[in-house]
Symmetry: C2
């Protein structure tokens, strides 16, 4: 808004480098969609982007880092796609279902090479690992989305559980994605089935947790999460 940002952490003026960076990323995603990840070579990316091979490494530390960039992008698409629904709908189950459906829709074009995402995601050394510091911003945004899913609904949830639930839902959603990656059925029908049903189950479980019978289990789950967090520090 003001005349000039003096020294902002991440200014937004597009330099020459920014253009090159974007061209490389755009070209890479294009090729990934066309031929898949493994079959796309860095040389091919550089060539189509009209850039020297080494230059791609000036902007992206590795081939995998190109995927991280893609990951951030689909996440933003997903946020947009479910904003309307979250503003309108008040029923927890429908909210969660909507979020998961739009997630699948947003990811669909990349199903072909999404495997590589999880391939790296499961590798503790990879920057793509969702638990790595490098991707924690995306993860936090993602769990924030699930917090929003809960907040906008009218369901009563015990406060202790409420605090942890976004993390658990994020984990749940990662499980779904993992299933989706392996799902070769046309239009990912099996994953859709899984989502429809599992959302129902999850929603039920959430409401059930208020029952006295389940209190001990709930407490144990929460205590476990606490302890793990302790030892992590």
């Amino acid at each position: 808004m003001t005349a000039e940002d003096p020294v902002p952490p991440e200014p937004a003026r597009p330099t020459r480098g920014d253009q090159t960076r974007q061209k490389i990323l755009e070209t890479a995603l294009e090729l990934f969609r066309e031929k898949g990840y493994e079959e796309t070579t860095m040389r091919a990316i550089a060539e189509r982007a009209e850039v020297a091979l080494g230059n791609t490494y000036y902007y992206f530390r590795s081939k995998e880092h190109l995927i991280q960039a893609f990951y951030g992008r689909t996440h933003e698409e997903h946020l947009e796609a479910c904003a309307a629904l979250l503003a309108r709908e008040k029923d927890l189950k429908k909210r969660l279902l909507g979020v998961m459906r739009t997630k699948l829709d947003a990811s669909a074009p990349y199903h072909r090479f999404a495997g590589i995402l999880f391939k790296s995601a499961a590798d503790p050394m990879s920057p793509l690992n969702p638990f790595s510091p490098e991707s924690s911003p995306v993860r936090q945004e993602s769990t924030a989305l699930f917090a929003a899913v809960l907040d906008g609904s009218k369901v009563k949830i015990p406060p202790d559980l409420r605090a942890e639930l976004p993390n658990l839902l994020w984990l749940y959603h990662m499980g779904i994605i993992l299933f989706w990656i392996h799902d070769e059925s046309p239009g990912a029908r099996r994953t859709q089935t899984l989502v429809e049903h599992s959302v129902d189950i999850v929603a039920r479980l959430i409401t059930l947790t208020s029952l006295p019978v389940l209190r001990p289990v709930r407490k144990r789950v929460l205590r476990l999460l606490d302890e793990l967090r302790e030892k992590a520090a």
Copy 2:
């Protein structure tokens, strides 16, 4: 036993090739333990095994396939390690706990490069993917182990759930392994904590499933599994 097997599917007589094969595998695991997976080159393996580079590919289709061989081996170690306990103990929770503990113990020497296992495991294209046909024997053996855990215990489990539970427990155990891979705490303490607590929770849930309140949820879970299996065919 008899004089000569005429044409058995997979005879057991050790040919020259078997020796070479074993030497390569042994050397590979040795180097993996010493330097980790990424840092071990196929050339180094070939050299120490006193074999030509190309020969390693005669016996193992790829570097990853060497890991699959290792995977089968630790699984056998694990089976042995928990046999005694399963013969003795009758309490479900203790049985499950014992199995999971021994699993971690058996895997401990390989923690350093276990990441690569899951890296490939999450990739739908990889032969290491636990859902792939190539590794289904190991998976079946593994779920059979969990069936044994249930069978030897005195807990009453609804038959419909009983049929699916080994698969669910296998999934649970994969989740634990995934956590373990990312666990950098000394001696994998965090994973141990996770196991101690989560086994308790799982055991509780299993016994709780007989409760009338939980019947609808149980039924829905089972129906979901059924539907997914249907669509897979």
